[in-house]
């Protein structure tokens, strides 16, 4: 790796071999069995149907002040625009070339300005930090047990979309909710396919660093709003 001959590189190479030699020196290392994580999660699996799983996910997320709205594949754009208006938000950041972004653009909302994340952040950092009110991204899936969204940022929906704007709207399909973190990474084959950055997001950013008093809106979004898309057959009842 460090092909350039500089003094730190030489020191680093020495440090590396010394550290590894010291770690290999003890003759007494007792072999330890490989822990069976799968068995533990299997034994603690809940028996629940999908509605119960959604309810469990929702309760955990709402407990940390995430807003969850039921909707459907057809109705979510209208809901999003209504929520934007209610919250007094104007500039919405959307991904580039995403189906949901296109759906929103097709509506040509009058009082909402849509901004595409079309170019490298280096070209428009100040706009992102100072002018964007909210963003919309699609969640990959979610986790019921810990009340979490799974976000895998992509070139179309980059990392900062879920971090810098003060309000973050997330589209989530109810069918993608996993029971726990372990089964999520196992089912989705994470160990062979992790992107440069993957995230669990469990609510708006928060801190309790001042006298243990919980305050929302630390450095990340102040509000996290999930638009929970139910399959067509269920959504009418749920959205009512």
């Amino acid at each position: 790796m460090n092909a350039t001959p500089n003094p730190t590189a030489a020191a680093e190479a020495r440090a590396r071999s010394s550290i590894l030699a010291r770690l290999r020196a003890p003759a007494t290392t007792v072999p330890q069995p490989l822990p069976d994580v799968g068995a533990w999660f299997d034994a603690h699996q809940r028996h629940e149907d999908s509605a119960q799983r959604v309810a469990r996910w929702r309760a955990a997320m709402e407990a940390v002040r995430t807003e969850v709205h039921d909707t459907s594949a057809a109705d979510w754009p209208e809901l999003l625009l209504r929520l934007m208006a209610e919250k007094g938000l104007r500039k919405l950041l959307i991904g580039s070339d995403t189906p949901h972004g296109a759906e929103l653009e097709a509506r040509r909302p009058g009082n909402i300005e849509l901004k595409r994340y079309a170019e490298s952040i280096d070209a428009w950092r100040d706009v992102l930090f100072d002018e964007i009110d909210a963003s919309l991204t699609l969640a990959k899936s979610a986790i019921a047990e810990i009340g979490s969204l799974i976000l895998w940022p992509t070139p179309q929906e980059p990392r900062l979309m879920s971090l810098v704007p003060s309000v973050h709207f997330v589209l989530l399909d109810a069918a993608t909710i996993h029971p726990d973190f372990y089964s999520a990474m196992a089912a989705e084959g994470w160990k062979d396919s992790l992107p440069t950055n993957a995230l669990l997001v469990c609510g708006p950013s928060k801190t309790a660093d001042i006298q243990q008093t919980l305050a929302y809106g630390a450095h990340g979004p102040r509000e996290l709003v999930v638009l929970l898309r139910h399959p067509a057959s269920q959504s009418e009842g749920a959205a009512a």
Binding site: M1, R22, Y117, P158, A198, L200
Partner: protein, 476 residues
């Protein structure tokens, strides 16, 4: 900071402890915070069976990782390199800082924005950067407050736990231009958010710690609530992560149990707001993320702990802070009194490897050995056993077989050695014991009324007028 600490952190340990004990305000802050954190943790573990099962699993994962540490570090390095993350090795704080400085100077950096990292405190990172003319700014709210006040963190998870909101309100009003005094916590956080927001955008380098390194995937995992960790690792062009060599696990599936234990044990949350998995710098076609990611792996005495089967357990630590939250000593004297980067029970057992036992052994004695820390430790570190071991090491004969650590035997004194030798003689020879106890019981009037620390708050110890053997003789 670390430069100051390195010399003789223990010289003033008792004095600092006494100062806090005589400060009712500080005691109230700490006690209140500890009670709060204990209750929060308890509420997260309603099911004892689940808790004990998870702790055992967590302990096994950490033990397995350590047993395979050299192999896992090499695997981690290979995977990270393949992912485009540059790996650096440092034996000492100075080496770690030199590596960071080298990177900073190469990219011509002026400003570093920092996420929470105890290892960066351990190596005195801010000092080293500032000495080279590079500005460092803490962005974790607690760390920001502490830096603004020119202090050091007093707790590894809640750095500003020693401060009241009134003190923070005064600090903000005094130090941040244009800010009026307010005790409203939401308003104070909004001020911090506003000040720091621009700083993320303007920084050249983001520095962070790491909670877990995953060897099989080449992934750095970061746990946080505020979003500043994500900012530091995503916005600046260069991200430098710094961590101890012990933080590696082999498999990605080893992470969920440890993460669950960490969040619940540390702050009594089911999970933190963010769990951030970083497996590479910005790839071609991606529109944000750092262009360079570096990982600095630090030894700083960890290999000394590793060499000893018993002391190696120290390295299982996942830095949740539950041991200090439940420690009757920490709850009364707080984090600053320890004088080390890591305070509390974990600080007492990990600091000797970083700073030498000679500089830190009194910490091993600042414990009642009540075992509360052992009971709550999410990875089952036998902290009290290790404390006793370190006490023994501190009294070991230098250069002998029993002295195995840097600074072993530092607590040994001529008087102490003479007293214990005499004690051993008396207790291993019955004739001598008989004679000595006869003199003790008959000469009890001569017992000194001033018996040092004992008599400061207790009545003097006086031998019984009759020995046990005298009483038994009378019965016959």
């Amino acid at each position: 900071m670390s430069q100051v600490i390195k010399i003789h952190p223990m010289e003033d340990f008792k004095e600092r402890s006494r100062d806090v004990l005589n400060n009712p305000g500080q005691r109230k802050n700490f006690r209140g915070a500890m009670d709060f954190l204990q209750a929060k943790r308890r509420a997260q573990f309603p099911d004892q069976e689940e808790l004990q099962g998870l702790r055992e699993l967590g302990s096994q994962i950490r033990r397995y990782s350590l047993a395979n540490l050299p192999r896992l570090l090499e695997q981690l390095e290979a995977r990270l390199s393949a992912n485009g993350i540059q790996v650096h090795w440092a034996q000492t704080p100075d080496e770690a800082n030199a590596i960071a400085l080298d990177i900073a100077q190469r990219v011509n950096a002026k400003r570093v924005i920092k996420g929470k990292s105890m290892v960066s405190e351990e190596v005195g990172f801010n000092h080293a950067m500032e000495a080279a003319g590079i500005e460092t700014l803490e962005s974790d709210m607690g760390e920001y407050i502490v830096q603004l006040a020119g202090e050091a963190p007093s707790h590894i998870i809640m750095p500003a736990i020693h401060k009241t909101k009134q003190e923070i309100a005064e600090l903000f009003a005094k130090e941040i231009p244009g800010v009026a005094y307010t005790e409203d916590v939401d308003a104070l956080i909004r001020i911090g958010r506003k000040v720091l927001r621009r700083k993320f955008a303007d920084a050249d380098i983001g520095l962070s710690g790491v909670n877990f390194c995953v060897a099989e995937t080449g992934t750095l995992c970061l746990v946080e609530n505020e979003g500043n960790g994500r900012m530091c690792t995503t916005v600046p062009k260069v991200h430098i992560a710094i961590t101890g060599i012990e933080k590696v696990v082999e498999k990605l599936e080893h992470v969920p149990p440890l993460y669950s234990l960490l969040a619940r044990s540390a702050t009594g949350q089911a999970v933190t707001t963010y769990f951030n998995l970083i497996s590479g710098p910005r790839k071609p076609g991606e529109k944000d993320g750092p262009e360079e990611v570096h990982l600095i792996l630090l030894d700083n005495g960890r290999t000394q702990a590793y060499a000893d089967e018993e002391l190696r357990e120290t390295l299982k630590c996942i830095r949740c802070g539950a041991c200090m939250n439940h420690c009757p000593v920490y709850a009364r004297i707080g984090g600053h009194a320890y004088g080390t980067t890591y305070p509390g029970p974990i600080g007492a057992i990990v600091s000797p490897h970083m700073l030498g036992l000679d500089a830190t052994y009194p910490l091993a004695f600042a414990s009642t050995l009540c075992g509360a820390c052992v009971e709550v430790c999410p990875v089952k570190i036998p902290i009290t056993d290790i404390l006793v071991r370190l006490r023994n090491e501190s009294q070991a004969k230098p250069e002998s077989e029993e002295a195995t650590l840097r600074g072993s035997g530092a607590g040994r004194t001529v008087t102490g050695t003479a007293v214990w030798n005499a004690w051993a003689q008396v207790y291993s020879r019955s004739g001598l014991y008989k004679l000595a106890s006869w003199f003790m019981s008959r000469g009890r009037a001569l017992s000194p009324s001033d018996q040092g620390a004992w008599t400061r708050s207790r009545t003097p110890l006086v031998p019984a007028p009759k020995r046990l053997r005298d009483l038994l003789k009378e019965r016959k």
